[in-house]
């Protein structure tokens, strides 16, 4: 066994870390993440130049990475700076374009000249593709889509959308539409970054696959892994901030870090963060194996629990300061809390683990 990153990956993660630290200092992030367009659109091309998007798909699909560890290094760095760029939607969209052989689109996204997002979930189908109600209708060669998609991450900043819809045969198909053709309303999320409601009223679409359920699940699992890695990055930073604050804040004539009641709690956070890191590595190693679903579900469950603990404890141990918008730690806490709600929360993942365990 060897837990070291390859040199190539280390280079990408080092250069991404430097770039994000330089371009997304936390005050800047807080300024852009909550107001339209909820990210810094100018920077997308630079991120593409760093090779970040190419790292998300394999060589034979036009990229130069594509393994779980490649996804993890990119998103861990995003987590460290709470980078609000719509990378999650592009990751999932890119993997689906690649899976269905759309090499022009893959190239354009890797080059940073096009952006996409995945529109799967609906108000009454948030965890499970089996409940999807958006319908696809065919007349001759042409497809049209009708329905409403909710919480489309990156839907506010996409040129095309990949939409999961129910086909006349009752399968979940995958369709590509022009974002312009849909009724898109974007908003900020409480933890920053944008998402969109997507209304579809007979929108003409291109069918990429009439039976894409399994492939979409795999793309969602890649997204879940990304969220786990993002959380690990954010947890590391928030724990450091908390440690620094405890050492610097004086009450009762001494640093509050000298109170053992608080020391033990920071120790517990450190333990949970190592567990979170380990389960994320486990999932990263499994994304391209038959054990993918179980490994990812385990990781996302543990991350949900650890993220909530780190967020709540960090705010608590900061006292009033941790409750303020101006203090960066509060934004890390919100992100760590809300990551759990994306692509199925810890309870949803627990249910998956229980089902897969007994299968």
């Amino acid at each position: 066994m060897n837990f070291n990153q390859t040199d190539d990956r280390r280079m990408i993660s080092d250069s991404l870390r430097r770039y994000l630290a330089d371009q997304y200092p936390v005050e800047h992030r807080i300024k852009i993440a909550y107001d339209a367009p909820f990210h810094d659109a100018k920077k997308w091309g630079e991120l593409a130049e760093l090779g970040i998007l190419g790292a998300l798909v394999s060589e034979d699909q036009g990229g130069f990475g594509g393994e779980g560890f490649d996804i993890a290094i990119v998103f861990e760095e995003f987590g460290r700076t709470l980078c609000p760029e719509p990378m999650l939607g592009n990751l999932m969209g890119l993997r689906l374009y690649a899976a269905f052989g759309q090499s022009d689109k893959v190239d354009a996204i890797i080059a940073g000249t096009a952006r996409t997002a995945l529109a799967v979930f609906e108000a009454e189908a948030f965890t499970d593709t089996s409940e999807i109600a958006t319908s696809a209708t065919q007349s001759g060669e042409n497809w049209t889509l009708s329905g409403r998609k909710s919480l489309v991450y990156g839907g506010h900043a996409a040129d095309t959308l990949l939409v999961a819809a129910r086909t006349p045969a009752g399968k979940i198909g995958l369709f590509e539409i022009e974002a312009k053709a849909a009724d898109i309303h974007s908003y900020a999320m409480i933890d920053g970054g944008g998402a969109a409601e997507v209304g579809l009223d007979n929108v003409s679409a291109k069918c990429l696959s009439g039976d894409a359920g399994e492939t979409i699940e795999a793309a969602l699992d890649a997204g879940r892994l990304a969220l786990c890695a993002e959380a690990v990055g954010a947890m590391d930073v928030l724990k450091e901030m908390t440690k620094d604050y405890l050492m610097q804040r004086q009450q009762f004539g001494r640093p509050i870090a000298t109170f053992q009641a608080l020391q033990h709690r920071l120790v517990d956070l450190s333990i949970e963060i190592e567990q979170a890191r380990s389960i994320t590595i486990h999932a990263a190693g499994a994304v391209d194996t038959p054990g993918r679903a179980l490994a990812v579900a385990k990781a996302k469950n543990l991350i949900g629990r650890a993220g909530k603990l780190v967020a709540e404890e960090a705010v608590q141990m900061h006292g009033g300061i941790g409750m303020t918008w101006e203090y960066a730690g509060s934004h890390y806490a919100k992100r760590l809390t809300m990551i759990d709600a994306q692509l199925g929360d810890k309870e949803d993942q627990l249910r998956r683990v229980m089902e897969l365990m007994s299968a």
Binding site: D128, M189, I190, Q316, T324, W325, K334
Partner: protein
């Protein structure tokens, strides 16, 4: 043992309920239910409604214009108000300064100030905490130096809740730097419009605005605004802290939150079925209900005991810790019930009619984040544990 309310208490509950039914507008109750930020006018009009029935100053004796209720009556009143989604009574004048003046104030202070709290002429806020003095309140530095018949105040208070609406602020200030830190503190009343005072907003984690920084530079305040004895303000601070803790268990508010949570879980669908039929989620709600049931009983045990005397510090601290943790858990469940639909910024989502969540739950995530404050203020839960530990270990 008799776990029933007396017939008189039941009759009192019915009376409160019918008053709320007739006097709390649908519009205001809906705002409270939806977790919308209430404006000054909303709060003032609700205070006036209660005052019209003489029910505003729940803890004040009859001679000062209160209803003269005992602890059990106050509990029933609070519970009914919460269940009806009435606005929370802003406590600074009514629950804090009022009792302080009744115990420590001069006859003139009582006559001048108490009626103005009741009729809403003065909105008070609490100036205790400072940037360097939170848990360690006695380290406060805001300085009041006597000059003839005035104090000259310099320094800074922070976390001042609803200071943006306030006419007056009661402050702990340092009047002496000699002796033990606790011995040089005084309790002073200040008009917030006095020259030299500046109030600046602090935005909270969820984006709301309810706390402020208050800066004092050469603020001149008449010595007659001192409450109690100079340099003995710490006694008042301690007295007030015990008052701040009555009702701290928040049983009424949590009961209402649990009702709302269940209603939400019945309404939301997950995997084609109401969320409440999901065994994993239902188990979490059931656990929360069990915890709250026990807290209700603990709280009543304390109330009935306290009708004869004061509740011990330890029990008050226990109620504070358990009550806040239970409330925070209920908020967490409401947020999680929504899944990803909790994420949109509530005001934007409601304004654009984009909310995926039902309107009464659209602010669930915001409320969850905002209510992290419950375990921090009013003496943090760690400080409460220190109090209990002192009691257990006798050190």
């Amino acid at each position: 043992m008799d776990l029933n309310f007396t017939p008189e208490e039941d009759a009192f509950r019915a009376e409160v309920r019918s008053f709320l039914k007739d006097n709390l507008s649908e519009e205001l109750a809906t705002k409270v239910r939806n977790g919308e930020e209430l404006g000054k006018a909303d709060i003032e009009s609700w205070h006036a409604t209660l005052q019209s029935r003489n029910w505003l100053a729940a803890t004040w004796p009859v001679e000062y214009g209160g209803p003269g209720w005992n602890a059990v009556q106050r509990h029933i009143f609070d519970e009914e108000c919460c269940l009806a989604n009435a606005p929370r009574i802003v406590p600074f004048g009514l629950g804090m300064l009022g009792p302080v003046l009744i115990k420590f104030g001069t006859e003139k202070q009582k006559a001048d100030i108490l009626p103005r709290i009741l009729d809403g002429s003065d909105w008070w806020c609490q100036g205790y905490s400072e940037p360097g003095a939170g848990s360690d309140l006695a380290s406060l530095k805001t300085r009041a130096i006597r000059e003839g018949d005035d104090y000259i105040i310099n320094g800074q208070k922070t976390w001042t809740t609803l200071g943006q609406y306030a006419d007056k602020i009661f402050c702990l200030v340092r009047t002496s730097t000699e002796g033990k830190r606790q011995e040089g503190i005084s309790f002073v009343l200040v008009d917030i419009k006095t020259p030299g005072i500046e109030v600046r907003p602090i935005k909270l984690i969820e984006g709301g605005y309810e706390v402020n920084e208050v800066f004092f530079s050469d603020v001149r305040v008449p010595v007659s605004n001192l409450v109690g004895v100079e340099n003995e303000g710490w006694t008042i601070a301690k007295f007030l802290l015990t008052h701040e803790r009555t009702g701290i268990a928040g049983v009424g508010a949590s009961t209402q939150a649990l009702h709302e949570l269940k209603a939400l879980a019945r309404k939301l669908k997950r995997r084609g079925k109401p969320l409440i039929e999901d065994p994993l989620f239902a188990a979490r709600i059931a656990e929360a209900e069990i915890d709250l049931e026990a807290l209700r009983m603990t709280n009543l045990r304390v109330l009935v005991d306290a009708s004869g005397g004061a509740a011990s510090n330890t029990i008050a601290s226990m109620l504070k810790i358990k009550g806040t943790v239970i409330r925070q858990n209920l908020d967490d469940l409401a947020r999680r019930a929504l899944g990803p639909a909790a994420a949109p910024f509530p005001m934007e989502a409601l304004a654009g009619n984009l909310a995926v969540a039902p309107p009464e739950a659209a602010a669930s995530a915001a409320s969850y984040f905002n209510n992290r404050k419950l375990s921090i203020f009013g003496g943090s839960n760690e400080i409460q544990r220190n109090i209990i530990a002192k009691d257990i270990f006798g050190a």
